[in-house]
């Protein structure tokens, strides 16, 4: 008799693949939101596995703030090529240029909030009826509350107080015209699961996740890359340090970690002993207690 036991990583993988296939079956025009971070990389890889040897039956959509690390863009283009996926880019700079959004000013300016408008415009433009996101429930307290299939009204908004029941593994993607769904196939993976999975599956990552020397500066206890996207005060001195990213977003909201980890095993060791969450270094969450909930209600990722 065989040993019918799945490891937690296999069980979670199987759950994610089930959801990705359910999206392909239930929706007319889904898209996969690809940010360039490790979570969307894992999601992209799972999509590849879910439909292999056929091509992934939906395009990747990248909402580009124009403030991305160069490595992110290079990696994105290579990955799309390797997986044979189609890429659509929604540009925040274009939204600014056409007056759809107004750029924030000042030293703490970020295009993070503006992305929501570009995202909703892009979904509308291509008539996408489901957007796959790489959000995980362990990331943040509002995300901890979200369904796998998360309904959005015609304004793209989430109503956390009135979510649809979601029973067993039965997913209800029915909706009225103009509404859409956000679907989160890796909801149940934790940060540690993601790294373990990357190790197990040997998934190549952007070099930013490994230690490298870089010009950085410190603001409010967070280390940022000294790049043009973030205007610096005169008092903010640039130094060269060995750092890596624990999460990757837009340059303006990605805090760097001092680290010498240059392998996945090192990174896993580092995370196992870390006492702060990965979003502890994200300035977009620090704006208020319910920052994420408010952004999500408005249609954010």
């Amino acid at each position: 008799m065989s040993n019918y036991k799945l490891t937690h990583l296999k069980e979670l993988e199987s759950e994610s693949i089930f959801i990705l296939r359910e999206v392909a079956a239930q929706f007319e025009k889904p898209a996969l939101l690809f940010s360039g971070g490790k979570d969307s990389i894992v999601m992209a890889y799972l999509a590849y596995k879910a439909f292999y040897p056929a091509a992934i039956p939906f395009p990747f959509v990248h909402i580009d703030t124009g403030h991305n690390f160069e490595e992110t863009i290079t990696y994105r283009d290579e990955l799309v090529e390797r997986l044979g996926a189609q890429l659509i880019v929604g540009s925040v700079e274009e939204s600014i240029a056409t007056g759809r959004v107004v750029e924030e000013k000042g030293f703490n300016a970020s295009r993070n909030k503006l992305q929501t408008v570009t995202l909703l415009d892009t979904l509308e433009k291509y008539k996408f009826d489901a957007a796959l996101g790489g959000a995980r429930r362990d990331e943040e307290k509002a995300r901890a509350k979200e369904r796998f299939f998360s309904h959005r009204d015609e304004f793209g908004q989430w109503d956390p107080k009135n979510q649809r029941p979601e029973l067993w593994n039965i997913f209800n993607g029915k909706k009225n015209l103009g509404e859409h769904f956000r679907v989160f196939p890796i909801s149940n993976l934790t940060e540690m699961d993601i790294w373990q999975y990357i190790l197990q599956e040997n998934i190549p990552l952007p070099s930013l996740y490994y230690t490298h020397e870089r010009e950085v500066f410190e603001r409010d206890g967070i280390i940022y890359a000294a790049l043009d996207a973030i205007p610096r005060r005169e008092s903010e001195k640039v130094e060269v340090k060995r750092v890596r990213c624990r999460t990757i977003g837009d340059i303006t909201c990605t805090g760097l970690t001092l680290s010498s980890a240059d392998s996945l095993e090192d990174i896993i060791g580092e995370i196992a002993s870390s006492r702060i969450t990965e979003r502890g270094g994200r300035s977009d969450d620090k704006r208020s207690e319910a920052a994420m909930e408010d952004r999500k209600k408005a249609g954010y990722f």
Partner: protein, 438 residues
């Protein structure tokens, strides 16, 4: 460094246990989850700081309100209650846990059902001062309907009854009566204080009369549901993979998640509802091919013959007991919507990967949660009611009873106008035969 590397390899093949909380409003469910996370050192410094700040802001002074670790929505914090399920994660060297912390308030029962539907263990909390009340019974009833394999009854707030053994034993005795009516199996009782941590992660010195395990120890050692692999094999077809490429010209894979038993290359299979026979040629998982696969793996199956199969069909082994193929289905339903069930009305049904429409033929009875008796004269099934109904579906369903198989034995009802999920259904063949008898 070398010890860390060892930890990580240990971590790669851990067992997953899913559990959910249940019990009436304010019985301490969220506090308990907060305590469990806190005492097992699963809280990060920035999370703890944020919860400390929020506790102070909400008027709690210096006392940390651990419930805020799961009550993360603005409305929840303002009202001091849980509204929707929060999923939290933690791991010990023994296991990895997925927690669903559910709301106790009757208005949000649908969210409690959502959280409980995937649980291997339900922790039902009871406030030691109030004892068993209607909502404790409703949640126990739901746990029993969902056939959650393990139930832990945590008698909470023992600090407010001087850790009295008599109080604990009285509640235990009363609950045992309910458990036997509800056919709840494997019920374990434990006296705790979620607020202070007694018997949660560490054994309490205030309950010397209690000889059992701490809650965490129970969670680490209770058996994980794994017997699905011994059930008759079931493979609801989810999606058809056809690459249309030169390299895989004739490839046709039936993708899905195994929902009972196991399949091997060479197995003779029957496709339902058409009853077409074929043989498994290959089982693919991502880019690899397997000799054998089992529940709950997501794979694609290739067959030796070119047969007509579409989403919603079920592949089973020809040598094993088949599911029932019929449009007449009898089920216990838990109603989840403001608008009552419409007897004679039509609904959309989702069952495994099938979607069809159904008409409600009959409401046989609904359940009085307080007395646990059947109500035969009032058949209006309102939100939070549990009832036994019969439906007739447009396309036949290929089903087992819920007691036999949680996946092929469950379905949801969807409102045709609003598209909301309005009912959770558990299929029964013959009520007397089920483990669940009312």
């Amino acid at each position: 460094m070398s010890t860390q590397t060892k930890d990580t390899t240990g971590y790669l093949d851990m067992e997953l246990l899913r559990f959910s909380t249940a019990g009436s409003v304010d019985d301490g469910k969220s506090t308990l989850i907060g305590r469990l996370l806190y005492d097992s050192k699963s809280i990060f410094e920035d999370q703890l700081q944020a919860v400390k700040d929020a506790s102070k802001r909400l008027g709690g002074g210096d006392e940390v309100n651990l419930a805020l670790l799961t009550d993360g929505l603005r409305a929840e914090r303002e009202q001091g209650i849980t509204i929707d399920v929060a999923y939290r994660y933690f791991a010990t060297p023994k296991r990895k846990f997925i927690i669903a912390d559910t709301p106790g308030h009757i208005e949000y029962t649908r969210n409690m059902v959502t959280g409980a539907s995937t649980a291997d263990v339900a922790i039902i909390l009871i406030d030691a001062r109030n004892g068993i009340i209607e909502q404790s019974k409703r949640h126990s009833y739901i746990a029993s309907l969902l056939q959650i394999p393990n139930v832990i009854v945590a008698v909470n707030k023992m600090d407010l009854v001087d850790f009295s053994e008599t109080v604990f034993n009285d509640i235990k005795k009363e609950y045992e009566g309910i458990a036997s009516i509800l056919k709840l199996k494997n019920v374990i009782f434990i006296p705790i204080s979620a607020r202070d941590g007694d018997n949660v992660v560490d054994a309490s010195d205030k309950t010397p009369w209690y000889k059992g395990d701490t809650l965490l120890h129970l969670l680490e050692t209770l058996p994980v549901r794994k017997d699905e692999t011994r059930l008759p094999a079931r493979f609801p077809v989810q999606y058809i993979i056809r690459p249309h490429s030169d390299d895989f010209h004739d490839y046709r894979g039936y993708a899905g998640r195994i929902s009972g038993g196991s399949f091997k290359v060479g197995d003779e299979v029957t496709i339902l509802p058409s009853k077409t026979q074929s043989t498994i040629k290959a089982i693919d998982e991502g880019t690899k091919s397997l000799e054998e696969a089992f529940t709950p793996q997501s794979v694609s199956i290739r067959l030796t013959d070119n047969v007509d199969i579409s989403r919603g069909d079920i592949i089973v082994k020809s040598s094993e007991p088949k599911p029932t193929v019929s449009g007449n289905v009898s089920l216990l339903v838990c109603w989840l919507n403001q608008r009552p069930l419409n007897e004679g009305g039509k609904y959309i049904i989702r069952h495994a990967t099938e979607e069809t429409r159904a008409i409600i033929k009959d409401v046989h009875y609904k359940v009085n949660i307080n007395t646990l008796e059947n109500i035969l004269d009032d058949k209006t099934v309102k939100m939070n009611d549990i009832a036994h109904i019969s439906i007739k579906t447009l396309k036949p369903l290929k089903y087992d009873s819920y007691g036999e198989n949680r996946i092929t034995g469950s379905l949801v009802l969807i409102d045709e106008n609003t598209f909301e999920t309005v009912g959770a259904g558990m299929i029964v063949h013959n009520l007397e035969d089920e483990t669940f008898t009312i």
